[in-house]
């Protein structure tokens, strides 16, 4: 499935000797990895090993304090799911997707929002404020938000958190559909769940 010509152009994400410190506190040290186009990198590690920090670096939400990090493309090409849903709590799901769709210049944002909300089982709750959602519903909305602009690179920080079996099933299907077509970096405590999709693995210590 991997596009040979594109893969030859080099990795989509390349980290060499990455280091991140917050003041005196060192969170990451000497992390190196590469994800080719169409690759699927699974990041594992104990709590506090720096999985979240690493993914925030790749997403551009934080800058490394040492080492080299190259991410091809710009912010338009990146979809990110983090610990927080990154949406407005007092807007409805539809209003959130409309706002972010506009900022991401998604021309058919109405259709795509509708389709994603439908797929993730949020269509009936589309006009409810996010603050009334359960944890699982918020996580589903966060996934809709990340997929809205059909990004070439998906960075997912423990995306299965808080999802029930239904939600996790939908995410499984989405990831299978995207694997090979899109580049994915995913952190998880349950690597078995994405074993079949993974092309690369990174264990943080």
């Amino acid at each position: 499935m991997i596009d040979v010509a594109a893969a030859a152009a080099g990795p989509v994400v390349l980290g060499e000797g990455l280091e991140k410190r917050y003041g005196r506190k060192r969170v990451l040290r000497g992390v190196s990895f590469a994800v080719p186009r169409g690759g699927f990198l699974v990041v594992t590690g104990a709590n506090g090993a720096g999985k979240t920090t690493l993914l925030r670096l790749v997403a551009g939400l934080a800058a490394p304090t040492g080492g080299v990090l190259e991410v091809s493309g710009d912010r338009r090409d990146l979809g990110f799911v983090g610990h927080e849903p990154l949406v407005y709590q007092e807007l409805t799901a539809l209003e959130n997707l409309e706002l972010f769709g506009r900022l991401y210049r998604v021309a058919d944002r109405r259709e795509r929002s509708g389709m994603l909300l439908e797929r993730f089982g949020l269509w009936d709750a589309r006009s409810d404020r996010v603050s009334t959602y359960s944890r699982g519903m918020i996580q589903r909305l966060a996934l809709c938000r990340a997929l809205l602009h059909d990004p070439a690179l998906l960075v997912l920080d423990e995306p299965f958190t808080a999802l029930d079996e239904d939600g996790a099933g939908v995410l499984d299907m989405e990831l299978s559909a995207l694997a090979g077509e899109r580049t994915v970096m995913l952190s998880t405590h349950d690597p078995a769940r994405v074993e079949a999709l993974a092309t690369d693995r990174l264990v943080l210590a």
Binding site: P85, L86, V87, Y88, Q89, E95
Partner: protein, 216 residues
Amino acid sequence: MSALTLYASDVVALARKDLRLELRARDTLPAMLLFVLSTLVVFHFALPTGTADDAAYGLLWIALIFTALLGLARAWAPEREGGALDGLVLAPCDRSAIWLGKTLAVLVFLTAAELVALPAFALFFAPVDLVAVAGVVLASIGICAVGSLLAAMAAASRGREVILPLLFLPLAIPLIVGGVGAGISPEGATYLTFLGLYDLVFAILAWATFEYVITE
């Protein structure tokens, strides 16, 4: 669409989002309106009888500045919940548009408060002429432009409610000078020019530096 139209549409979308949130929650504007009215009433008792109108103008400005602080302290509250600010930082829009959108939204709130405060002031204390109103408009732009940036800084700190007035007041002194001068000086135009210059200098500075305040 040209880059400028896109930029403007981002700014409008962001500002409209804030207005929509305010219409829904109503937790900032009513507080500002009530605060500015209460302050003016308190000033009546704080001013000895027979005090000149000039002194009352000074108090008007204190009321406006603290009302603006009240609004600014809550300006980034919607972005703090749920990590929405990270969502905006990730979006491919120009980061300065986030600042400009917030500035416009706060300016709308402050203008609404002033629409109540100025007639009330004219009724309670002293007449307000056109130059004084122009002074209020120009100073409000400066207050919101600088204030929304400082509020974003304060939002990143631990003591955000306490720290915002400390950051803001030294920077607001020139605005108060310009505003009071426009109200009471016979050479109001000088003060209006000064306020316009302040707005220009600090709006450009805030526009250029906002990105650094919200990224790591």
